[in-house]
């Protein structure tokens, strides 16, 4: 009986732990990702750029337009995960086998404000508001 109790956890450990050996989880963030809630205070036609800068900080770029200035906040949230199932066969294989599943997701985004010549925000929008990329190494 005790053989069964001991051998099952050992078997589980032998099978599962090596499969985790080749695991990598990495993340890259550039600036603080903005959410719809974070920019909810902006009212078109009323809020000034000074109000926005006070809450969100300085933007990443300001460019000229025919009606005023285009103010852009950029941010990135990238996730990467990788599992090497080749580690399962390592104890029994004369070579170093690899069976790698990996996946990365980029949440590149930008928030743009159009200001008139008096620095009042006239329009605002997220350029590409993507959902949060998950940490899932399964690529299929």
């Amino acid at each position: 009986m005790w053989h069964k109790i001991v051998s099952l956890p050992l078997l589980f450990t032998a099978m599962v732990l090596p499969s985790l050996s080749g695991c990598n989880v990495a993340r890259l963030t550039i600036n603080t990702p903005l959410t719809a809630d974070a920019v909810g205070f902006i009212t078109e036609g009323k809020t000034t750029l000074a109000d926005v800068v006070e809450k969100l900080g300085a933007p990443d770029s300001i460019t000229d337009t025919e009606v005023g200035a285009l103010v852009t906040y950029r941010f990135l949230n990238a996730k990467y995960s990788r599992v090497n199932f080749g580690w399962l066969a390592k104890p029994w294989s004369p070579v170093d086998p690899d069976l790698v599943f990996s996946r990365s997701g980029m949440g590149t985004d930008a928030f743009e404000l159009l200001c008139d010549t008096n620095w009042v925000v006239t329009h605002q929008a997220f350029v590409r508001h993507r959902p949060e990329p998950p940490f899932t190494p399964y690529p299929f």
Binding site: N24, R27, V53, P59, I62, A69
Partner: protein, 125 residues
């Protein structure tokens, strides 16, 4: 008790740690930014304090000087079974808008890098 057990388990599996850092551009000092006054400071004074801008743009007939600095911090926790790493990048930006008379009209600045920390845990915010 569980947390202590988890911590002990992580310590036993700890293989290595790595910290690295990269910066781009000169530091934008707060004192220098504060010395630029709207309506009084001239273009020449801005250039004397901060040097040539990283970007120079035209904005409705006014000059826009942009100064920036990037700071990147990388933390990695290399365990025997799994590796965690995180790269955090933030920037300091300063925009100085100078009118046709050569006087500073607007100063927009923020220092995001002050709160930048070394992190290795990739989950959460």
């Amino acid at each position: 008790m569980r947390r202590a057990g988890l911590l002990l388990m992580m310590l036993l599996m700890l293989n290595a740690c790595a910290f690295s850092r990269g910066t781009l551009g000169d530091e934008i000092k707060t004192d220098t930014v504060n010395s630029i006054k709207k309506g009084t400071t001239t273009r020449a004074e801005v250039l004397a304090h901060l040097g040539a801008p990283d970007r120079l743009l035209q904005l409705n007939g006014r000059d826009l000087f942009q100064y920036y600095r990037y700071d990147a911090k990388v933390g990695s926790l290399l365990l025997i079974l799994v590796n965690f790493s995180r790269v955090s990048v933030k920037s300091d930006d300063l925009f100085v808008i100078i009118n046709r008379e050569g006087i500073v009209e607007e100063v927009i600045a923020s220092k995001r890098t002050e709160n930048l920390e070394f992190r290795f845990w990739p989950f959460g915010d």
